[in-house]
Assembly symmetry: C2
Homo-oligomer: 481 residues x 2
Amino acid sequence: MSSTAPLNKQLFNDIRASILAGNVCPGTRLPPTRELARELGIARNTVLYAYDRLTDEGYTQTLGGSGTYVCDTAPDPALLDRMIDSSHAAGTTAARDDSRLSARASELLSNAGASDLQVGAFVPGIPDVSQFPRGVWQRLITKVWKTAGQGQLGYGSRHGHPPLKRALSEYLTLARGVNCSPEQIVVTQGTHQAIDLCARLLADPGDLVWLEDPCYWGARSVFRAAGLEMEGIPVDEQGIRLPLSPEVSPKLIFVTPSHQYPSGVVMSLPRRRLLTEVACAHKAWIIEDDYDSEFRYQGPPLPCLQGLDPHCNTIYIGSFSKVLYPGLRLAFLIVPLELVDAFAVAQSEVYRGGQLTVQAALAGFIADGHYTAHVRRMRKIYAARKAHLTQELQRQLGDQVDIIGTDTGLHLTVLLPHADDRSVSQAALANGIVARPLSSYFASASRSQNGLVLGYGGVADEEIAGAVRKLTCAIESVTRS
Amino acid sequence: MSSTAPLNKQLFNDIRASILAGNVCPGTRLPPTRELARELGIARNTVLYAYDRLTDEGYTQTLGGSGTYVCDTAPDPALLDRMIDSSHAAGTTAARDDSRLSARASELLSNAGASDLQVGAFVPGIPDVSQFPRGVWQRLITKVWKTAGQGQLGYGSRHGHPPLKRALSEYLTLARGVNCSPEQIVVTQGTHQAIDLCARLLADPGDLVWLEDPCYWGARSVFRAAGLEMEGIPVDEQGIRLPLSPEVSPKLIFVTPSHQYPSGVVMSLPRRRLLTEVACAHKAWIIEDDYDSEFRYQGPPLPCLQGLDPHCNTIYIGSFSKVLYPGLRLAFLIVPLELVDAFAVAQSEVYRGGQLTVQAALAGFIADGHYTAHVRRMRKIYAARKAHLTQELQRQLGDQVDIIGTDTGLHLTVLLPHADDRSVSQAALANGIVARPLSSYFASASRSQNGLVLGYGGVADEEIAGAVRKLTCAIESVTRS
């Protein structure tokens, strides 16, 4: 620290370091200030400052007028021995000496899925933030700050910003067929927090959660960090294919019915009805992640599962990351009325609330119609971009290339039955192109498929042809070798 | 839903409900559109809309020109039986039939500490947000949005916003004696998230964490939710009094050395040095929560523990909630270099990042000197307010009243050796005054003390006398009875 500290702190730092290192014994009298100043060729005030601070912080004390003495602040070895001896003998920490991370941390980190690259072709799950109406948003934020009371800058009460919940409930009832009142909405800081609340409030460590296989890596990470057992359930062209005679009942069933992530499959109505019955029989909660259903290009958007569940067993998660911008960090849960208090209280305990100014601006954004208008505008842009990408892929990879999951959302998947997708992905990354391997989303190796998950939300139209060219080179380099 | 849906959706909703309820059997032909329109006295277009949507969503199908028929979407009872039978027989969920919350949720909720009241006299931990320089902040936010690239609206890469980390590292080295480089800083969404990352990355369920007793309720809730065992360690006038010969080594030791929460004790230098040695011997991590050390009224602020730890075993947590405003939801960790990657990756996995525009504005706020200026200004305001509150308490409760913890921070504690503090707190709340009982912060009943923790950060000067009057009435009403 000495090197970066201003000059008048350096003497303090040096003496302190000597005391801490035991080079100056307790009881030692520091040289008189005049003498030390002369000896070091520095101002006496600098020495006075250092001595004062040492005394203020307890390293030294002044005894009457007789000078400044080093205090005895080092731990007493005998006391230290008694404090640590028995536990050391017990050897409780010996097992994990080399890595000081927890076992759950090691598991989490060795299965990490988040990418460090978050912009450009073809990062999935990223919207085109260049189209976000910054001006409108800024005006709303400014307006909120002009009128916000003190409470709006605080942690907030447990139940979030009421106008946002009202605006959301109204919008979702019409747009997504959700069955809810504003009171059922719990605003969270992102989808991961919403999933984590479900995992910790509705399941204990060791409890089972069914996930679609393939599945969003983030859901797996959150459930893993919460100590749950995970079972991947296969997905076919109708969505999740529930198992016959499972040995253990799941506590949670996590699904993406509107647009299966990452395969793009839309869950059929018979499967939805089967799922709600099976969940009810198992006394399991369904968690419906409706992450990008706003962007449906063929036919009207299908209503969500939550509104269809006759047993009110479905918890709905919605996010603003795909419509507004990911860095906003706002999402929400719709939970059955009897769970609202538990979720709201747990959120205050585990995370604390806040962001009420942003919630207020978002409420205005929805209520004033900007949300719907922006969705409508972006849907057209993404549809054109998807068509453009599909066309380029077919032109460059050949008409026979199998592209799936193009009805909805911000990504599509190119199947590569004859190439190792992880090698292709690496080769593409070397050319600056993110193309996540489809196989990395599978929990079961036997079920795994080779392919590339390509996000087109954040790719400018003029970049697409060039990016597909680089991707084609990567694919060819792998299939040739 | 029918009642709130627009008229042209009502018919769709009603038919859908009949199909879902099984009142209309699969294979049934719906009445011809003209006929139904005439019968119901509605426009034929309304019927056409309903039929189209039913078909779109899979409830019905059209067979050539012969009409619209109800599809068979209900689960096959035989299939359903096979899906749920064996697991039901196993009875895995029978034990917790009445409450469908997890065991950990029940524990978390029954020990909840967050208050629903977050403004006014005397909520602790709340700064005076009316003094926050909104204009400056607004200008910084506007400036950031004008120049922010697309990446700044995204989830962000794993390592946060570099300019903020540089500004923080510089400020903290000077102001708090922290020993760190910018790379060691991990920006989090609030202190709770920072504690949670420590709990999950550095300890497994069942591992032991030592907490000061009394202690911040929020830390207890986060550790509890992470499945850790907690042991409260007594605090005396020098700070935490470490136990002799503990049977089990702690994995984590959570402390507030600058301003013990809520007692207000400042940890002495000998105790700090003992703590770092004991932690090292146990191979435990120290977590130092330096939540409001900026506001020290007597003498210079003591440097933090992290900069003093010769073993680099201390993880520092700082927050912007007390200096800027709580709803901002930004805090940070300073971790040893070898842990940075683990923390950054885990944060992406469990929470995802974001808020880079806010981080950029905050970087400007610090680098441009607004942070230091605001702290200096607020320190004077809080010092005056604290003096005023102390004076009023002494005037109204008598000079003999014992007030502790007044050197630092945004709250003080009035000891009430002869009154049940929970009753006083309830009586005060009935008069609109929040006065948290000191005893509620203790884990051990035998160690517990009666008193009131009074936050003065968010109380206007002119409210203090009146609020103390109400508080005095509450105390008298309890001691008299």
